[in-house]
Amino acid sequence: MTVMSFQLPPDRRRRRGQLMLLVVFIALLAAVLASFAVGPLRLPPMEVLQALGVKLGLVDAAQVSARDVAVVWQLRIPRVLLGAIVGASLAMAGASLQGLFGNPLADPGIVGVSQGAALGAVAAIVLGAATVGGWVIPLAAFTGGAVAISITYLLARPGRGDGNATLLLVGIAMAAFCSALIGFFTYIASEAQLQSLVFWQLGSLASADWADVAAVVPLFAIGMVCLLRLATPLDMLALGERQAQHLGLDVARTRRRLVAFSALLVGAAVAFAGSVGFVGLIVPHVARLLVGPGHRWMLPLSGVLGALLIVVADTIARTLDPPSEIPLGLFSAALGAPFFLWLVMQRRSKGGV
């Protein structure tokens, strides 16, 4: 389709978009390196670099303590990478859902996708399907998320009733229904299953390892690339579904794709890190303030900002009260909920959608 490759001619946001992407990406790299160094065991930056160098064969292993190498390589790197991917996934899924619903209040947690994904994952664990293989939980999370968005979308699509109120009410109902089912599965779960279930309720990166990273990377890569290709269709949807169709967009197909790829990203994030709320709400909003609403820049910037936010939040979460750590989900909710309220109040004073 010609629409995909097209660039709006007066692309005055281009320079700003490139600049912001570069700045935030550098900030992300700095945050990643810093978070390798901090934690219950504080390592000077030089030792972190040496530990990295050992694995890459640049530094003689005798110069660095094996403990430092293990901490950096086995604990921190997978954790930081997983955090960055989870943050980028949730933020990009949030940005896409906001475009799909035509509503900046849409967030994976608010439209019920995260709960749907969590329900899928919990069901997979309790019903014993998780023992089949490591891919079952992400698949179940994806399916649960996709079903949840589809239902929410059917009931609260743009132009149907009062935008904000309908979306939030349907989201509440969706989340409540999923929570009820999660509660049911928790009730029938065995002792051992219960332990893994608690993980989803809080949202945490504490158990991250290289296997998780290896499993999440392909899901993330597919979801990210496919969503980025939908940047122009997302711009068109801002005019309303009918108007987007008038401009030649196959709205039904675009909608199916947005639902599928958002669910893929949310499913991947929830399967490996539990429910981390509000990232998909805050980050696209900030990205829009920085580079404008055009998805060509806003979508990738949301990804990098989301990664930055989670890496920083997780670093703080595990350094505030060592050696124990504050669950990441609590952290993001504590930050996100007031922001959400502010957004609702601000929109109400402007007269809603």
């Binding site: 389709m1 010609t2 629409v3 490759s5 097209f6 660039q7 709006l8 001619p9 007066p10 475009g99 035509g102 509503n103 900046p104 743009p158 122009t232 711009d235 068109m236 949807l237 801002a238 005019l239 309303g240 009918r242 108007q243 169709q245 008038h246 401009l247 030649g248 967009l249 196959d250 709205v251 829009r288 404008g292 609403p293 055009g294 959608v353």
Partner: protein, 253 residues
């Protein structure tokens, strides 16, 4: 004459009520057709069916002799542009960004696209507002932005649903002059209007709808007669000769 669009026996039924019944119309290239009629006569429904938004329950719509429903969204968008009554844009896009979206159906040609966008911004007098966010515009300014987007789409067929509803006097006239110019250059324009004098002043042909049927169809002077208007609108009117132009002038008594 070159027929671009044909409605053949089009009927639309909603909740057992016939919104449109057996409408047969042909639209030629190079003409402006005004759809007029009282509230609920079926104007917007007719426009919706003709532009492909709504599926007719009976009959068919042919564009260039081919059924409209069989066309892909992309191909259709290169043939017809639609200006709806609703102009809301979600998120803070700029005026020129929204107008530029009118070029999306066409294969990219930067220089040509830029010219089309500038011409559309000029026609809708949006140059001073081009950097503004659409969400900050007044109702009339948003309507002009949508109109400019439709112009930028540069299609042979245009559907306009009350393009002048929110506009001031000057921009009402400007908009219809632009529409007239497009038709003179070969476009087929179908426009829903409430103002009978705008219809009389700029349309070649007026289709008067009454309860889902075509009550009158022809040049303004033939359709806008006192007896027809009194019957259809149930309102006493006088039809005068416009003092300056050779068109009828409808005055409410």
């Amino acid at each position: 004459m070159n027929v671009l669009l044909t409605l053949r026996h089009v009927g639309v039924v909603r909740q057992q009520r016939a919104i449109l019944a057996a409408v047969d119309l042909e639209f030629m290239a190079g003409t402006v057709t005004a759809l007029v009629g009282p509230n609920g006569a079926g104007k917007s429904t007719l426009l919706g069916v003709a532009c492909g938004d709504l599926q007719a329950d009976t009959g068919e719509v042919l564009l260039h002799g081919k059924p409209l429903q069989a066309m892909q969204a992309g191909a259709l968008a290169r043939e017809r542009a639609v200006m709806p009554q609703e102009h809301a844009v979600r998120f803070a896009f700029g005026v020129e960004e929204v107008v530029a979206m009118g070029r999306l159906p066409h294969p990219p040609e930067p220089a040509h696209d830029a010219r089309q966008i500038e011409a559309a911004l000029d026609a809708a007098e949006l140059q001073p507002l081009r950097q503004r966010e659409v969400q900050q515009l007044s109702g009339g300014e948003s309507a002009r932005t949508t109109f400019a987007r439709v112009l930028a789409q540069a299609t042979p067929v245009l559907f306009l649903d009350e393009p002048t509803a929110a506009l001031d006097l000057r921009h009402q006239e400007r908009t219809l002059r632009t529409v007239r110019g497009l038709a003179d250059a070969g476009a087929c324009v179908i426009v829903v209007l409430h103002d009978l004098n705008l219809a009389a002043g700029y349309a070649d042909r007026i289709v008067l709808l009454e309860q889902g049927r075509v009550a009158a169809d022809g040049p303004p002077a033939d359709v806008l007669t006192e007896s027809t208007l009194r019957r259809v609108y149930q309102q006493d009117v006088l039809v005068l000769q416009h003092p300056r132009r050779p068109v009828p002038l409808v005055v409410v008594v």
